[in-house]
Symmetry: C2
Subunit: 93 residues, 2 copies
Amino acid sequence: MPKKAKQDVWGALADGTRREILLLLRSRPHTAGELADQFELTAATVSHHLAVLRECGLVLFERRAQTLIYSLDTEGFEEASAYLKLFARGRRK
Amino acid sequence: MPKKAKQDVWGALADGTRREILLLLRSRPHTAGELADQFELTAATVSHHLAVLRECGLVLFERRAQTLIYSLDTEGFEEASAYLKLFARGRRK
DNA sequence: ACTATATTTAGAAAAGAATCAAAATACGGA
DNA sequence: TCCGTATTTTGATTCTTTTCTAAATATAGT
């Protein structure tokens, strides 16, 4: 099995819940449970969103005992940022 | 009917064909037909993509005889740009 | 009015994504 | 090893998006 590619960065950013998760991670890392608590969604659903964010390099995670700690992976944003810069008014370079 | 809002800027940018259309428009305005010719899609499908881009303020259009001329509307990019800037490394402001 | 060209709209099929409940996995502690 | 907590995976359901063909609209020229 060639490993399903599925959603890219743009697909990941297309969902509002995922964009909110990223905003939350901007202040500090959060556990999966903390993130799930912020939304009116099941933990399973939030976990799915986190998987999408992981797969396209927008978040990193690390296990600490039973909990998984998620944090931003700023590299993943590069592609989208570079694209949008092409359309910025008064852009330099 | 309250007028279907449907796709927002993020949803619009999630599609690769639409992102390519925007890149094409960056060099100069194009007619719908010119744009359709650049893809292996029917004119109807490209027209639909253009409608999505219009609805969220990413492109403008103007009629010239039988043809519709599409061009970039840079304002529509602001929301997405502002969001992504929050995650830029070494961001200023 | 009729025809040709350019484009959009409508309707439907197919693929993709979001969500949930339930089952499965991972870890640490008694 | 068995239990409890944290989280993910699986499978099903539903909603949304992409795409097509066919029909409709707009415009200009004859």
